[in-house]
Amino acid sequence: MHPDRLWRSAEPRKSYEVVIVGAGGHGLATAYYLAKNHGITDVAVLERGWLAGGNMARNTTIIRSNYLWDESAGIYEHALKLWEGLEEDLGYPLLFSQRGVLNLAHSLQDVRDGVRRVEANRVNGVDAEWLDPAGVKEVCPIVEVSPEVRYPVLGATYQPRAGIAKHDNVAWALATAASALGVDFIEHCEVTGIEVSGGRAVAVDTVRGRIAANRIALSAAGHTSVVAATAGIDLPLQTHPLQALVSELLEPVHPTVVMSNAVHVYVSQAHKGELVMGAGIDAANSYRRRGAFHIIERQMAAALELFPVFARAHVLRTWGGIVDVSPDASPVIGLSPVENLYLNCGWGTGGFKATPGVGWCYAHTIAHDEPHPLVAPFTLDRFTTGALVDEHGAAAVAH
């Protein structure tokens, strides 16, 4: 083994107990907890590109759990609690920084929704406060709170335990830990089909040959529709580009995370010093990991209005990922219509924060062939029963 390599790059074997499709954060965390919590180590994680080169490498790393509904608070708060012990658990620096998140309100309706969400959060044991404009200014002095601007800040929800982490470190730490427990990571191994026999998933076809598995767990984010279709499963997902950008490295100016659904921008400052900004999705479906320029332009306009101090900053780099958007802005996790085939998708624009939580619960679901209680509400079935977990209010530009 190369001394500098953190994990083993494996050659595919003929069969595994569990095959995970997609080595993003969710696939890696699932493999780690399968091995750690359930003793299942005969696991391969198959990745069409390179390890964690998808949305895991492209997201703006915002972590929070201040969602409206009980079901969401359950899974996101479970994740946040795991984040709080993850550096120690994995023995690797993740640059997890609980610098808080402000979700700004710019209209009376925003204020009502925000206050309601704060109350709902508290009932669910999620830390939450409502701040007036002066309180916002105190937490983040560079936010423009004067009533003069086009969309004045009328207040904000504040979750002090929210924050950011270094996405690449998270992926490397999970891969290192899972690899040490015996999990195989196989890169450049695109899954081209799922073999179903008598209603059971029995193997995957890959560009590197057929691999048999007793259990197959999808974690392919923007490509889940394509992979699931090979097993005859239709999913209520639409794949859209989502973009983000960074400025050059600047002195520390921005102490927290600021999100604004109304003006469509969210900003934090990474440890190195770059301002990290994200926007909304491109309207049209696309599998091209490149979004339209007008989205970036609008996002910059919004950022400048909220943070006049950014006027002299330069855009260093923009990029895009493709995200799997569900009708109610909540994920689909659990069993599928095909036996031994499991689903984890629909995280859309906001799945990074869930990484350890979903890995924990998805591993449980796969190990027991039964949904973990925290993901049980997120069935595919809810699009028939109507029991949606509608997070559009809390998550219009969810991250």
């Binding site: 394509v226 209520p236 794949t239 049209a284 091209r288 339209a292 028939t384 029963t385």
Partner: protein, 92 residues
């Protein structure tokens, strides 16, 4: 940004248009006759191909008319533009 050929106005920037999602999704003729599953499929399930996709656009900042497009979602290349009510063109 896409350059979208409106059948009436010619090629214009994407910012002039509004996206309408998958084309050829008809409102069910007798909604109350549908099962929950059929109704759920009508409401929530749309095609999501990596490849050719028939979709609707409205030229909202121009002539304000709707039309259909076949676009390859891998490259964003527009292959066909046709009118609502016309069948989806067959790509050779």
């Amino acid at each position: 940004m896409l350059l979208i050929p409106c059948p009436w106005c010619g090629a214009r920037d994407e910012v002039e248009f509004h996206y309408g999602g998958q084309a050829h999704v008809a409102y069910p003729e007798d909604p109350s006759a549908l099962s929950d599953e059929q109704w759920g499929r009508y409401l929530f399930f749309r095609e999501n191909p990596e490849g050719d996709f028939a979709e609707r656009w409205s030229h909202s900042a121009g002539c304000r008319r709707w039309f259909n497009v076949v676009r390859d979602t891998r490259s964003n290349r527009i292959k066909h533009v046709y009118l609502p009510g016309e069948p989806r063109p067959v790509t050779p």
